[in-house]
């Protein structure tokens, strides 16, 4: 029960601090808000402020429990002193008694389901993989830590700042409860909006449609960020609507804050900024009012919340929007090929046709990571709401915030547009009894015991109300050991891997319960190179069995280049070794040589290291003009070049160029003599030595990772020994 207390304390402190900071802002600005909505909007706006405060504390190495406690207590005390706890403003129109019963039953029932799931031991995939991993790092280091080996460490983390605040007291579940606090707040915000604009029934129905949807329920009950983002977007929409009604310029402050905070939560929510600015510009232009100053105020405030993240990434990762835009911001941290592949996967998941999307999103829930429920088959009817202004506003917001879905078809990526859509649907079906019936039917169909009767077994959804787990009557470690394999990996790693040591892994195991860094093959460019090396040892088509020999008239050159001459379509350009000869003798690589490559200059040494398991790769489709270059540091006689390469993705279209002593480049030859020399020896040790050379002594190999059988059956050929076999993975020590 002690653990449960800390979990609740951490999450409640975060909630109360956010509420207080937002309340202080609302009172300081003397915003004219209605009762109820004042608290709801204050919480969401305050969460942005608290996130900003935690960011500052992280940059100043003050991210400590005591400091968080002080921030929380001072904020709460200040809010009480200002009378924030005493609501002001006129009450909203009352809710009809029959709706109160429906809200009480549906909201109450699902709140219990969500609350206990949020409080239960946290074992969400993305929570374990990154949302809670980095708060853990920051908490232990009392501030930001540069983590170039994991691309998720360098996306915006606005909500993770709140998680960190709660994590300091109650660890993982406290963070999940912070997300739950947004889930529990947003429906009331939607209801308040409905009451404010005179569509109470639609607002209530829309709120409940949203709240009980399975994917929203599970997402909001774990340490994800989608529901928090959605709350922020809806609060932004709400403030914009109030501004449209009141034209009070003080409202531009929360509008700017929330627009910026949206981006700070998730890159894809950058649309909040043009949406807010576009809305204001349109309204001001139509009213023939000055545009520039209000827009500058909103944009400026938004930037206050956006820039810190961009600057952090620029300083640490050379790319403000890492892990994207790698063609513009070329860095050694993320490969272009990874970005291309990542985007491709996100656009399709495991679908074979986009026509499967409606079925997956509403009923099956397997392929797209969750479902909204069959009610959403009626979603197109929401367009009927376009008959009036309120409906059009809702539909516009829904359309704007649905746009990122074009880049990621996962169900979660539709959550930000869902509250607008569900209220619009409520407006379209504006017969009270029909709405009530639909709410009850949707709730019934979304309850875990009913859901499992029609949705896919592997659909992401809640399964029960875990009261004993939440209250820690079942100890957390016992529950996680039995239900969450990543916990077993993490425990094994903490038990066997010494502090400070690194673990290499081919797949993402979930690392929120270990303090040792795990380098996952596909989460950074250097780790991807290591994976390439390890696979080269066991896949003959990746081994340098092809020799391209270029012979030309002996001449003296200062520099020598191997240049790609043809487009390789989607294939990468690979060079395992580049050797230079004079009169049939290889010219030894001298220390005065200087090597260059375009693209991917950072890996050029891999083509000159005499290792058959390493290779320079373009890590993007091969294009004419790409080159590897040797500057000999003086005149050098040469008459041949040998390129050792792989039969996979192979294209021999290259030319050899030389720069003479006058600085002029000339083509020496374009003709290669190709021969095959299959590797007939074992490269496993060579590969493992590369891993060791990069500081790794441990590998976590999943049962289904490529090559897993080889590590298990041939450990002595690799020079590794089994340390632990837990969950679905094995931990090996590199001897």
């Amino acid at each position: 029960m002690k653990a449960a207390f800390y979990i609740l304390f951490g999450s409640l402190l975060t909630f109360a601090t956010s509420l207080s900071l937002g309340g202080i802002l609302v009172r300081a600005l003397s915003l004219k808000l209605r009762r109820t909505e004042e608290w709801l909007l204050a919480f969401v706006t305050g969460s942005a402020l608290l996130s900003g405060v935690v960011f500052l504390l992280c940059t100043t190495r003050l991210a400590r429990k005591g400091v968080f406690l002080a921030v929380g207590l001072v904020s709460i005390a200040s809010a009480i002193r200002m009378g924030v706890h005493r609501p002001q403003g006129d009450p909203l129109p009352p809710i009809a008694r029959r709706w109160k019963w429906v809200i009480g039953g549906v909201f109450g029932g699902f709140t219990i389901l969500y609350f206990f799931n949020a409080m239960a031991p946290e074992m969400s995939p993305d929570g374990a993989a990154y949302h809670l991993v980095f708060p853990g790092y920051y908490y232990r280091a009392h501030g930001f830590v540069r983590i170039p080996w994991n691309m998720y460490a360098n996306i915006t983390q606005g909500v993770e700042m709140l998680f960190l605040f709660a994590y300091a007291f109650g660890r993982h579940s406290a963070a999940a409860l912070v997300h739950f606090s947004f889930l529990a707040t947003l429906p009331w915000l939607m209801i308040s909006y409905g009451r404010r604009v005179g569509i109470a029934s639609a607002g209530i129905a829309g709120a409940l449609f949203f709240f009980v949807s399975p994917v929203i329920g599970i997402d909001g009950s774990v340490a994800y960020v989608d529901v928090a983002l959605t709350s922020v977007l809806f609060a932004l929409f709400y403030f914009l609507q109030i501004w449209d009604e009141q034209r009070d310029s003080r409202l531009l402050i929360p509008i700017g804050i929330l627009a910026g905070f949206s981006f700070a939560i998730k890159y894809t929510a950058f649309l909040a900024v043009p949406y807010a600015i576009g809305f204001l510009a349109w309204k001001l232009w139509r009213a023939r009012q000055p545009i520039l100053k209000p827009l500058a105020a909103v944009a400026g405030l938004a930037l206050v919340f956006i820039l810190p993240w961009l600057v952090k990434n620029w300083m640490w990762m050379d790319n403000p929007v890492t892990p994207f835009a790698n063609r513009i911001f070329r860095t050694p941290y993320i490969h272009i090929s990874f970005e291309d592949e990542y985007k491709k996967i996100e656009r399709i998941y495991s679908l074979t046709s986009y026509r499967q999307i409606p079925w997956e999103l509403t009923i099956n829930g397997n392929a797209l990571g969750g479902l909204f429920g069959p009610l959403f088959l009626l979603a197109p009817l929401a367009l009927l709401a376009a008959r009036n202004r309120t409906g059009r506003q809702l539909l516009l917001a829904a359309a704007v915030f649905a746009l990122p879905y074009l880049t990621n078809v996962g169900a979660r990526f539709l959550i930000p547009c869902a509250p607008f859509l569900t209220i619009a649907l409520g407006m379209a079906l504006n017969w009270e009894w029909l709405l009530m019936a639909l709410v009850l039917a949707h709730a019934l169909l979304s309850w875990p015991d009913v859901l499992k009767r029609y949705a896919s077994e592997s659909a992401w959804h809640l399964t029960k109300v875990p009261i004993r787990e939440a209250l820690r009557t079942i100890p957390e470690n016992v529950f996680l050991s039995q239900n969450f394999p990543p916990y077993l990996y993490d425990r094994a790693i903490d038990n066997f891997v010494p502090p400070g040591a690194k673990v290499y892994s081919f797949s993402q195991p979930g690392e929120s319960y270990t303090t040792r860094p795990i380098f996952v093959k596909y989460l950074s460019a250097p780790s991807e190179v290591l994976g390439d090396i390890m696979w080269t040892a066991i896949y003959s088509d990746m081994q340098p069995s092809v020799l391209d020999d270029f012979h030309f008239v002996r001449r003296s050159v200062k520099k020598l280049r191997v240049t790609k001459t043809k487009d390789m379509q989607d294939a990468m350009w690979n060079i395992s070794e580049l050797r230079v000869y004079d009169q049939e003798k290889e010219i030894p690589r001298a220390s005065q040589w200087r090597l260059k490559a375009k693209p991917n200059p950072w890996d050029v040494q891999l083509a000159f290291d005499n290792s058959p398991v390493t290779r320079w790769r373009s890590w993007e489709p091969g294009k004419p003009g790409m080159y590897l270059e040797i500057d000999f540091g003086g005149a050098q006689l040469v008459d041949a070049v040998r390129i050792e390469t792989q039969p996979d993705w192979r294209d021999p279209d290259m030319k050899i160029e030389g720069m003479d002593e006058s600085g002029r480049w000339a083509t020496l030859t374009t003709q290669a003599v190709v021969s095959l020399h299959p590797i007939t020896y074992n490269l496993r040790r060579a590969a493992i030595e590369e891993l060791k050379a990069r500081g790794f002594r441990y590998m976590l190999i999943g049962y289904d990772d490529i090559g897993s059988e080889d590590y298990q059956q041939h450990p002595k050929f690799w020079g590794i020994s089994l340390v632990a076999d837990v969950g679905y993975s094995r931990l090996y020590y590199i001897q």
Partner: protein, 167 residues
């Protein structure tokens, strides 16, 4: 600001790195849970009734109950699979044959073959029959074997591979 961030900050050049002198070992095929008869290390998996002689670069004669041992990487989500051929001459002597497939002593399936030629057998395996701590024994038993009338040589069938694949 975004545009200024894109200014080229790539390194100019690098010196040649330390030269590697890789430790080489004997050639070794990539390990798998499926034993191909032409794998470099195939013989290490043989328990009994499989010829030492590789024929045609890809297959071996078996005796009555060819048996292999395989160290499994996992127990869940696996299927037993084998590719083999019933020799026409064998069938002519014995008539239709039954081949039974086992993990240890556990019978997974029994199939009657009336015709000669290439055969493929695959069946999902209960995790309870498998283990990862030590090798799993897999076998296929033919009920009637061919006996060479001249020298009495016993031949079962022609085996190309046997083992496990992920489902």
């Amino acid at each position: 600001m975004l545009v200024s961030c894109a200014c080229e900050r790539t390194p100019e050049s690098y010196p040649p790195p330390e030269q590697r002198h890789p430790i080489e070992g004997p050639a070794l095929n990539r390990a798998s849970m499926l034993v191909n008869m032409n794998d470099e290390d195939a013989k290490e998996h043989f328990v009994k009734d499989i010829s030492d002689k590789l024929e045609g670069g890809s297959w071996r004669w078996t005796g009555k109950r060819p048996t292999v041992k395989i160290l499994l990487v996992k127990t869940q989500g696996l299927k037993l699979t084998t590719d083999f051929t019933i020799w026409e001459g064998c069938l002519a002597q014995t008539g239709p044959v039954h081949v039974s497939f086992f993990i240890g002593d556990q019978l997974l399936g029994k199939v009657r073959y009336d015709t000669p030629g290439y055969k493929h057998f695959v069946v999902p395996v209960e995790p309870a029959y498998l283990q990862t701590a030590k090798e799993t024994i897999v076998s296929a038993e033919i009920d009637k074997v061919y006996k060479d009338p001249q020298d009495g040589t016993v031949l079962g069938f022609i085996l190309s591979n046997i083992g496990f694949e992920r489902q």
